[in-house]
Structures are given as C-alpha cells and as structure tokens.
C-alpha cells in the first residue's frame, strides 16, 4: 500500500517511547528510592533563620514534604535535547511521586504545573537560553508555595522563598550538566 493511499501510515510512532519511559523512571526513582531530603536539611541554620525568623515554616512537617528535592527535575534543562517525549516522561514520573505524597491529594495536581513549566523550556530552547528553566522554576515554585500556604496556613513570603530556593537549586544543577552535555556534544 503506498503512502498516499494509506492515510493511517505513520500515525503510530513509538520509537520515542523509550525516552519517555527512561525520563519517567529517573524522575520517579530519584524520589521513591532516595531518602527524603528537603532544602531544610541542606541550607545552613543561619540562612534558614534569616528567611523564617519565626521558625514556623521550618517546623512544619508538610513543608518538609513539599520541599523534598525531586532529583528528577535535574532533567528539566535537557528538554532542549529530548523534546516532548521527555516532557511527558518527567510529568509521568512526577505523577508517580505525587501518588505517594504525604501532603495529600492536592499534590496530584503538581504534575500539571511541571508539564507547563517543561513546555516553556521546550518553547525557549535556543542555544544557551536559560529563560525556559527560569520560567519552569517560577511556575513550579508558585504552585508549591500556594499548596504550602493552603495546607499549612503559614506566612506566604518564607514559603515562597524556600520553594524558589529549592526548585532553583535543583534546576541549576541540571543546567550545569546540560551545559556540559552541550559542550561535549554527547547527544549529537
């Protein structure tokens, strides 16, 4: 059957399925397998106290859960290389993590914001551009701040600062790896 006479030809294109699964696996495994590590256990005490002088946010169990680092977000800058398959993969990985969240069912919505943020990275993928990752950090941080605020009812400002630091830190590490990968042309 020739290509012109077969309108279905090419509609099923699953060679990118592997990339989708690998990124989902790395994202999910990073959080399911590694011990819970939040930004509170990484930042020095004087910086923590400077942001949250009352100590309420730092003491909140829910905020510890929300600010648990998702190592899979290091993959976010690599969307420039991997495209939509990786966007769906990382989003699915985040969904798997969200099913285990101790914050509650509201965390099941978080992957939607991850998807949105990753999509911006894909849109602004011109070489060396960091606008995409920046928007990703802002979108996901704002959502996490909102969840933190509604779940705990604590001050919004320290929650926002902590979520920004948490997301920016992990994406910055990924961005460094992305720059290295681009330099050595590992994905060419």
């Amino acid at each position: 059957m020739s290509k012109t006479s077969n309108p279905l030809k090419g509609i099923v294109n699953i060679p990118r399925f592997g990339l989708f699964v690998i990124t989902a696996g790395i994202t999910a495994a990073g959080s399911l397998g590694l011990p819970e590590t939040s930004i509170f256990s990484l930042l020095p005490a004087n910086i923590l106290n400077a942001i949250d002088s009352s100590g309420n946010v730092i003491a909140s169990k829910e905020m510890h859960v929300l600010l648990t680092i998702i190592p899979g977000f290091m993959l976010a800058p690599f969307i420039s290389f991997f495209g939509m398959a990786a966007i769906f993969g990382i989003t699915l990985g985040h969904l798997v993590i969200a099913t285990t969240s101790k914050v509650g069912a509201v965390d099941l919505l978080s992957p939607l914001f991850t998807f949105l943020g990753l999509f911006f990275i894909r849109q602004y993928k011109s070489p060396g551009n960091f606008i995409g990752p920046l928007i990703f950090v802002l979108v996901t941080s704002l959502w996490l701040s909102y969840v933190g605020f509604t779940v705990t009812g604590l001050d919004m400002l320290p929650i926002m600062l902590f979520t920004l630091l948490s997301q920016a830190g992990i994406v910055a590490i990924g961005y460094v790896f992305y720059l290295i990968a681009k330099q050595v042309k590992i994905f060419n």
């Binding site: 294109n13 699964v21 285990t100 069912a105």
Partner: protein, 288 residues
C-alpha cells in the same frame, strides 16, 4: 525499494502459504480451556472431572502445537536468515501494517490487563480505613530501588541499541541487548530469588497476611512473569543480533521487544509507588 518489489522479493524467498496456519486457533482454544478449568476449580462445588478434563485438553493441544511446530523451526530460521540477507523483510517499525502497529495494540492490551489488576487492588483496598492495615510490616525500599536502577539502565541500553541499529553499529546492538538481558535477569533473581524467599522465610510478609500480602505477591508475581517474558524476548533479539540478522532497514522485532521492555519498566514504577510507598493512601479514609 518500493513496497511492491519488496513484497515480491519476500514471497520469492519464503513460501507464504506456510504463514497461514491453524496453530494460533489451536493455542487459543487450549488457553480458553485452561482458563475455564481455572474458573471451575475456583467455584464452590466444582466438578473435579470437568476441570481435570479441561486441563487435560489444554495439555493435549499444547503437545499437538509443539509437535507440529518444533520440527519446522530450523527451516523457518533458515528462511528468515535468507530473507534478511536478501533485504526482503518488510518493516519500517513505525508504519501501520508493519511491526509498530501490532506492538502498539499488544501494549494496549497489556495496559488493560494491568489496569484491571490495579483497579481490583484499589477496589479491595477501599474497604480499609488505613493502608497498609495495622500489623503489616512496612517493606524496605532498598531492594525495589536497586531493581528500579536495573530497569532504568536496561532501558537506556535498549535505547542505545535501537539508535545504533539505525546507524548500522552492530557491536552496540549486541552489547546493548546483552546488557539488558543480564540486567533483566538480575531484576528477576533479586525478586524471586532473594526478596520473596526472604519475606516468606522471615514471616515478614506472606500471601496469607490478609489483602496486603495477597495483593503484593499477586501483583509482583504477574509483573515478574512479564519481566521473564521480556528477558526471553530480549534474549531472542540478542541471539539474532549476534547472528547479524538486524540492519538499518530490518529491525522491527528489535524495536518491538524493546518497546515491550520499556512497558514492563513503566508498570514497575507504579508497583513501587503503590506497594512499597502506599501510593494514593490519602484517599483511603475517604472511601472506606
């Protein structure tokens, strides 16, 4: 090569009349008899004779299948090799009518299978206000973490092979799938050779430990069977790769086996979340 020429060359090398076989119907009938026997055995007041008879019919049909098929295997293998050498295997993986479409259908059927298993699990689980039920030992995440790492690396190796075969890099194809077979075997050995015996012998978790114990062994069991099936498929690909039966044009089976393996991987992520990390337990109290 145009499609019609490819078809003529394919038919020139293979007697296509042999492709029309009654064997799939025979195996389907046998599988139906086996399932019916299982249902009869589970019914109260079942008929032992009828169940045993159906099992006997299943065994008979399988023997007829093996008796008819095994003698043909050397010939089929030889023809397959001739076909590849002639460049006559039809198959761009992603095109309808070739390997990609049936693979996608197969994966959809598997999604339905595991979807049904997960729905049954959550339906039964919904009777409990707390999950896992009190008294159930929390499972250590170290072992599934190692298993997840094995699956991720194996998926990467398969992707490496898949990319390599399109560039004609035969060494990478062989090494990639060989690595995936070894890692897949590692996964199965850790689960069925270490974790299960450890849980059962220590009494930490057994199938008799209520719904959680039964669900754990059923779900990890059916996934384990799929892992073994994936390892077998990847082994066949590896053997074919070492016989140089794949090239830039002909690698549909390689991609189909790889896609299946990726699917097995993704199901595992949900099992990890639901069984080891009590996934979706925040809905527990609401539905109980």
């Amino acid at each position: 090569m145009p499609d019609n020429e490819k078809k003529v060359e394919f038919e020139h090398h293979v007697d296509t009349s042999e492709l029309h076989s009654y064997m799939p119907a025979l195996v389907g009938l046998g599988a139906g008899a086996f399932v019916a026997a299982g249902v009869i055995f589970m019914l109260k007041g079942f008929s032992l004779q009828l169940g045993a008879g159906l099992v006997g019919l299943f065994v008979l049909l399988i023997f007829i299948f093996l008796g008819g098929e095994i003698p043909r295997w050397p010939k089929i293998t030889k023809e397959s090799e001739q076909m590849v050498k002639a460049g006559g295997t039809p198959g761009e993986f992603h095109e309808i009518g070739d390997v990609g479409f049936p693979t996608a259908l197969f994966i959809l059927s598997e999604i339905a299978f595991f979807g049904g298993a997960f729905v049954a699990y959550f339906y039964l689980r919904s009777a409990y206000a707390v999950w896992p039920p009190e008294g159930i030992h929390h499972l250590d995440v170290a072992i599934p973490s190692i298993q997840t790492a094995l699956l991720i690396v194996s998926s990467v190796m398969i992707e490496w092979s898949t990319a390599a075969v399109k560039k004609g890099n035969q060494t990478a194809v062989k090494l990639g799938f060989l690595g995936a077979v070894i890692l897949g075997l590692g996964f199965a050995v850790i689960q069925m050779g270490y974790e299960w015996p450890h849980l059962l012998s220590s009494g930490e978790l057994t199938p008799q430990d209520g719904l959680f114990g039964a669900s754990f062994f059923v779900l990890t069991g059916i996934h384990g069977v799929h892992v073994i099936a994936g390892v077998i498929a990847n082994t066949v690909v590896t053997i074919k790769a070492f016989r140089n039966q794949f090239d830039e044009k002909n690698h549909g089976f390689l991609e189909a086996a790889g896609t299946y393996w990726h699917f097995v991987h993704i199901v595992w992520l949900f099992l990890f979340a639901f069984l080891w990390q009590d996934g979706l337990s925040y809905f527990q109290a609401a539905v109980a």
